[in-house]
């Protein structure tokens, strides 16, 4: 039985193959040229600095949400820019309207992007983009054991730790 395949599906297939190939090739190139010094930290699954295995019901740092929200703002912007870009430069429409269409579309998108850029400026000025650094307070406690003792013990046991892994 003959099945008629839409030729535009071939383009999509090409896209998928190209995407897969791109990932494979870049992984391969990285494998060839990178130095190979694994340690347990590096070998663990990458999860943006979170513990990869464990219950999902845990407390996230609140600053992730702020960053996520700001990220969303610009993701939505891109979402609108794509369909806009498709019709913005439409030669037929441009010709039919004597170029007015282009100016109209450009003005419309500029207003949209400017308002979003204003949002970025706002969060920037308000300091929501500053990653709050922990400010450790150094204890004023003075122990009777001299500082050098701690260091020598730390050194002694750290050898064991690294040896085990």
């Amino acid at each position: 039985m003959q099945v008629a395949i839409d030729p535009s599906l071939a383009q999509i297939a090409l896209f998928i193959l190209g995407g897969l190939g791109f990932v494979m090739i870049s992984l391969l190139v990285a494998r060839l040229i990178r130095p190979n010094r694994p340690n347990p930290e590096k070998l663990s699954i990458y999860e943006s600095g979170e513990e990869p295995i464990g219950p999902a019901w845990m407390q996230f740092n609140a600053r992730f949400y702020v960053v996520a929200l700001i990220f969303l703002l610009f993701e939505v912007e891109i979402l609108f820019l794509f369909p806009w870009a498709l019709i913005f430069g439409d030669a037929e429409w441009q010709a039919a309207t004597n170029g007015r269409w282009g100016y109209f579309a450009l003005a419309e998108m500029s207003i949209f992007v400017l308002i979003l850029a204003f949002g970025l400026a706002y969060v920037w000025a308000k300091g929501h983009l500053d990653w709050v650094k922990p400010n450790p307070t150094i204890s004023a406690f003075k122990g009777v054991v001299p500082e050098g003792k701690y260091q020598s013990i730390n050194q002694k046991y750290s050898q064991f730790k690294h040896g085990a892994s």
């Binding site: 429409w93 309207t97 269409w101 308002i115 706002y122 000025a125």
Partner: protein, 499 residues
């Protein structure tokens, strides 16, 4: 293609029609820009907001209300109904900014923040867009805009309780939005258009079965009833109002409700037109609205009987007032729409007066009715203002509330004569009964003001000068509207809405 040039030609006209709303947008950006500075300038922020809102109202004044024409590229309509609601929405936002100038210590420091002013302006913008929309796409976007402003403003006490109220509001609101969006998508599926005025919309509804249309319309209308806090979507209202500062509570009690009136009237009218032609399985929208209005009146009034907190009492009373607004819509007549607008105006003034006066008992964040004890004797002028406000809320003469209620009752009576509808009879009886019932809980306020003693919060009953002036002005309007209603009535009678 051939539609492209006329579309481009219509853009300047569309922008001209939306000039007041664009001014608001500019105002929002300006307020945020001021807020970006290092210094906190609450006075400047309030001044800019007041000027922007005054400019918005001034730009609206010359708009013609005798004609009906499409605006905003066919997404909305410029008619008398929309114009009146835009004015009311702007007035509500203006009053909110004015009364937040004198926010008390108990209410917190919300009025210092640029975001607060930007959100109030944004609520006004969203409300104006909802009020003029005739296109379900604009309607959904504008209602979401309105809701998100409301969720954020609810949070402005910055306490655990206000976070709880805000969270309830968000969860409930998000679910209702999703349901309403589902209804809109169903309507789009039936008709292939979202424009209520287009011929395709009516034809599409006529050619589909009545039960799915009923379901879809119900889902869409549910979203509007949620914003109006009509039964069965009223649960968020008491929590939200009792845990927000007074200006925000007054804004949330008035602006969203008024904004959705316009589109609710237009949508119900369109559906009713269709069901008149549907002879075999007609949906009686008048009965549906009458039942919702009746339930809202009953629930609002009965629940208000048991309240001990002042702001909760006002919240249930505002649910009861929504019942009257819906009853005016259920009349399905020109007089009904006119009485709706008159009632809406009275509702804004009386609600703002009541919330403002609740500051006379503002000794802690939860204001109890008990806190008003003997205020009428220690602060006589506050007592007078309270009494006028309560009279307007009940609908006693000589106040605007009386005129508004009489208009609603006469519109109902006229519709009963025209339609012989049993549910309208029930609605009329229940609304009269509800008015009598409301005497019991509203009169508790003057009772505590004058007859209970001794005073418990002598120091807490002081209101700022600005508040007293604004309260006096609002009460003056309430009395003036009763004594000289002619100018207002002439304006409102120009709003023709063909049912």
């Amino acid at each position: 293609m051939e539609r492209l040039l006329p579309f481009l030609d219509s853009v300047p006209e569309a922008l001209k029609g939306l000039l007041p709303e664009m001014l608001l947008l500019g105002g929002i950006l300006l307020v945020l820009l001021i807020g970006m500075g290092k210094q906190i300038r609450p006075k400047l922020l309030a001044a800019v907001s007041v000027l922007v809102l005054l400019g918005y109202l001034a730009l609206l004044l010359p708009v013609s209300i005798d004609t009906t024409q499409a605006m905003g590229l066919g997404l909305g309509v410029a008619d008398g109904l929309g114009w009146f609601l835009r004015i009311l929405v702007g007035a509500a936002a203006l009053l909110t900014v004015l009364i937040s100038l004198s926010s008390t210590e108990q209410e917190g420091s919300y009025a210092q923040q640029a975001e607060y002013y930007a959100l109030v302006l944004a609520m006004c913008l969203a409300g104006a867009l909802v009020a003029v929309s005739t296109h379900l796409l604009l309607l959904f976007v504008a209602i979401e805009f309105l809701s998100i402003g409301g969720y954020l403003l609810t949070q402005f006490h910055f306490t655990a309780k206000s976070a709880e109220a805000s969270m309830k509001y968000i969860l409930f609101g998000a679910a209702v939005s999703a349901i309403s969006l589902f209804g809109i998508s169903l309507l789009y599926g039936f008709t292939g258009t979202l424009d209520l005025n287009s011929y395709d919309f009516i034809r599409g509804l006529l050619s589909s079965a009545s039960l799915p249309v009923l379901l879809a319309a119900f889902l869409v209308i549910g979203g509007m009833l949620f914003k109006m806090a009509a039964v069965p979507y009223h649960f968020w209202m008491p929590d939200v109002l009792s845990h927000t500062p007074v200006p925000i509570a007054a804004l949330l009690a008035t602006l969203p409700k008024l904004a959705v009136l316009g589109i609710l009237v237009r949508l119900v009218k369109r559906l009713d037109d269709v069901s008149l032609i549907f002879v075999d399985a007609a949906v009686d929208w008048q009965a549906i609205l009458a039942v919702i209005a009746l339930l809202t009146l009953l629930v609002g009034n009965l629940a208000a009987l048991y309240q001990t907190q002042l702001k909760r009492l006002l919240a249930y009373s505002s649910i009861a007032h929504v019942g009257f607004l819906l009853a005016a819509i259920a009349c399905f007549s020109s007089l009904g729409i006119q009485s709706l607008l008159f009632y809406g105006l009275m509702y804004v003034i009386a609600t703002y007066a009541a919330f403002l006066m609740s500051r006379s008992a503002d000794t802690h964040q939860l204001i109890l009715i008990k806190d008003l004890t003997a205020v009428g004797r220690t602060h006589p002028w506050q007592g007078v203002l309270w009494t006028i406000t309560v009279m307007a809320l009940i609908g006693l003469p000589p106040s605007l509330g009386f005129t508004a209620k009489v208009l609603v009752f006469s519109a109902l009576w006229e519709s009963i004569q025209n339609y012989y509808h049993p549910w309208l009879w029930a609605l009329l009886l229940v609304s009269i009964g509800a008015t009598v019932l409301s005497l019991f809980y509203y009169l508790r306020i003057p009772y505590y003001l004058y007859f209970k003693g001794p005073a418990i919060h002598l120091s807490g009953n002081k209101m700022s000068k600005i508040d007293i002036w604004i309260g006096t002005f609002l009460c003056f309007l309430l009395l003036l509207g009763f004594l000289m209603p002619n100018g207002l009535l002439e304006l409102i009678y120009r709003v023709k809405f063909a049912f």
